[in-house]
Amino acid sequence: MPLTPVITDLEQLKDRRVLADLLSWRAGAVQGARLDRNELTIFIAREAIRDVCARLKTQVLTDFLSDLTCADFYPREPRFEVAYHLLSIKHKERVRLKVVLSGDDAVVESITPVWPSANFFEREVFDLFGIRFLGHPYLRRIMMPEDWEGHPLRKDYPVEGYR
């Protein structure tokens, strides 16, 4: 499977099932898309993520939240990209949603009301990246001790040595 060039043009990708539905439903929520190594990534506006997830869960049958995580692109700004990996069990396909967040305003709506399974995943992202999820039922540290300072998976947090 040799690598093919990345496609970022919405026009070429608009036939994809999930993207087509989102564009016809609320085009404003989609900020961009990318097809890389046969994996579709859709960039979602921050305000719309919970509505988009609810829509995809009920209407498009991407019924399983595989994973929710984050990557820190420090020192680039906006630095955080929260990635939601969704799986459709019926259609046997995956899609990745992404929300881009800046460092000084790392807040996004929680999707725990849509998928209860997001509970632990969001707590983990909060703990290790310091991103706050609005509307999360119990946003506390999960991996690190409660009195820990800092968020270890941020890029400006050292791998070794004293903090």
Binding site: M1, F64, S66, T69, A71, D72, M144
Partner: protein, 401 residues
């Protein structure tokens, strides 16, 4: 590790409830899981899992390592099936690189991954039965697991932390006499499963402890993130090996055991049936094992053979380069998911074009499965908690990472 003491966390609404601390040093929590139980007599009103006691920051460590140095770290995540973790990681890295793996390496990977599934399920079966009170099954299971560990030792030099799968293929070609040993094991294994089933499947005490306990419906299971045999026991007929094949699984014929009930008993039956199916797949892989190389033709990524390294200048240079400065990986991100013995295991890797990954995230099945535990146990008795923990087959190394 959110809760320093239980009292501020659970807030008993009525006087009659009390908070009971279970773990982290409780033998039937399968590691260092701590459960806070709010109980009314023997009935659980509320349950809260507390994790993080085994957090070692593997994801952070990965960001400081070369791609090939991460393979041994993945062993330590889920120590009951290290090769399945290796497989998931190397497949994600190969997808990032756009690397094609030769068929012999793929079939070896499938065969060993299925053997690992067997040995992982054997540990589950033994400990689960022991939690319920059937001590002898544990000894039976570990007897067969010992044979499997010898097989892994033969092929990789290690019993548990194997690191046998490498980016671009396998570490070494399997040694002489290896396939005979695997065949010998696979030939006798069905009788051994019969032995376990004789001890458990018809055992009235065992059935009474398991049937109807810790039920979860298909919709609830999907919403809470259950996957693997735990989800299939609730009636969702989905297996990544069959439905989204990877690593050549499309070449194998096997059944996916599905049950409707969604209780501990159904999960037990699913996993025991999987023992037999895994043996089928391993047998097919053994019989159809292709010949040929076990490493991809990619000198900049795959370490050269020892012999070549000593006789050829280029091989020596590549070896030196890979070991000292790693290999660069094209920019991009991938999410690779496979069916681990516990459910959907996924690796999310973001590459920034250098020799070290920018982000490695493991989607561990136990982590998501654990979330279902409160839903399964609330309203039931304390004794059922032990059965429920055993039935979702958690590994704490994988949860805390």
């Amino acid at each position: 590790m959110g809760h320093l003491n239980p009292n501020p966390v659970l807030d008993p609404t009525e006087d009659k409830t009390m908070v009971l601390n279970m773990g982290p040093q409780h033998p039937s929590t399968h590691g260092v899981l701590r459960l806070l139980l709010e109980i009314d007599g023997e009935t659980i009103v509320r349950m809260m899992p507390d994790i993080g006691f085994l957090h070692t920051g593997i994801e952070k460590t990965c960001e400081a390592k070369f791609y090939q140095q991460i393979v041994p770290l993945t062993d330590r995540i889920d120590y009951l099936c290290p090769m399945v973790n290796n497989l998931c990681y190397v497949m994600a890295a190969e997808k990032l690189l756009g690397l094609e793996v030769p068929p012999r390496a793929q079939w070896m990977r499938v065969m060993l991954a299925e053997l690992q599934r067997i040995s992982s399920h054997l540990v589950w079966l033994g400990t689960h039965a022991m939690d319920i009170g059937a001590m002898s099954v544990f000894l039976y299971c570990f007897r067969e697991r010992e044979d499997l560990l010898r097989i892994y030792e033969m092929v990789s030099g290690q019993r548990m932390m194997t690191s046998y799968f490498r980016i671009g293929g396998l570490a070494l070609d399997p040694p002489l006499g290896f396939f005979e040993k695997v065949k010998k094991f696979l030939d006798v294994f069905p009788e051994k499963v019969d032995e376990y089933e004789n001890l458990l499947t018809g055992n009235r005490i065992f059935i009474d402890r398991l049937k109807g306990v810790a039920q979860i419906s298909a919709e609830d299971g999907l919403a809470i993130g259950l996957s693997g045999p735990s989800l299939r026991a609730s009636g969702i007929d989905f297996d990544l090996r069959r439905d989204m094949p990877y690593c050549g699984y499309e070449n194998f014929k096997f059944k996916v055991p599905v049950k409707k009930e969604g209780d501990v008993w159904a999960r037990y039956l699913c996993r025991v049936a999987e023992l037999r199916e895994s043996r089928e797949i391993a047998k097919q892989a053994l019989e159809g094992m292709p010949s040929g190389p076990t490493k991809a033709e990619a000198p900049k990524v795959v370490l050269p053979d020892r012999e070549k390294m000593k006789t050829q200048m280029e091989a020596l240079i590549y070896h030196f380069k890979i070991v000292t400065e790693g290999f660069t990986v094209p920019e991009g991100e991938v999410y690779q998911a496979i069916e681990s013995p516990r459910g959907e295991m996924g690796y999310y890797i973001v590459s920034d074009g250098t020799a070290k990954p920018m982000r490695v995230h493991m989607r561990s099945p136990s982590y998501a499965n654990l979330q279902a535990l409160p839903q399964m146990c609330e309203g039931r008795l304390i004794a059922d908690v032990v059965a429920a923990i055993g039935s979702i087959d958690i590994v704490l190394g994988e949860i805390d990472r």
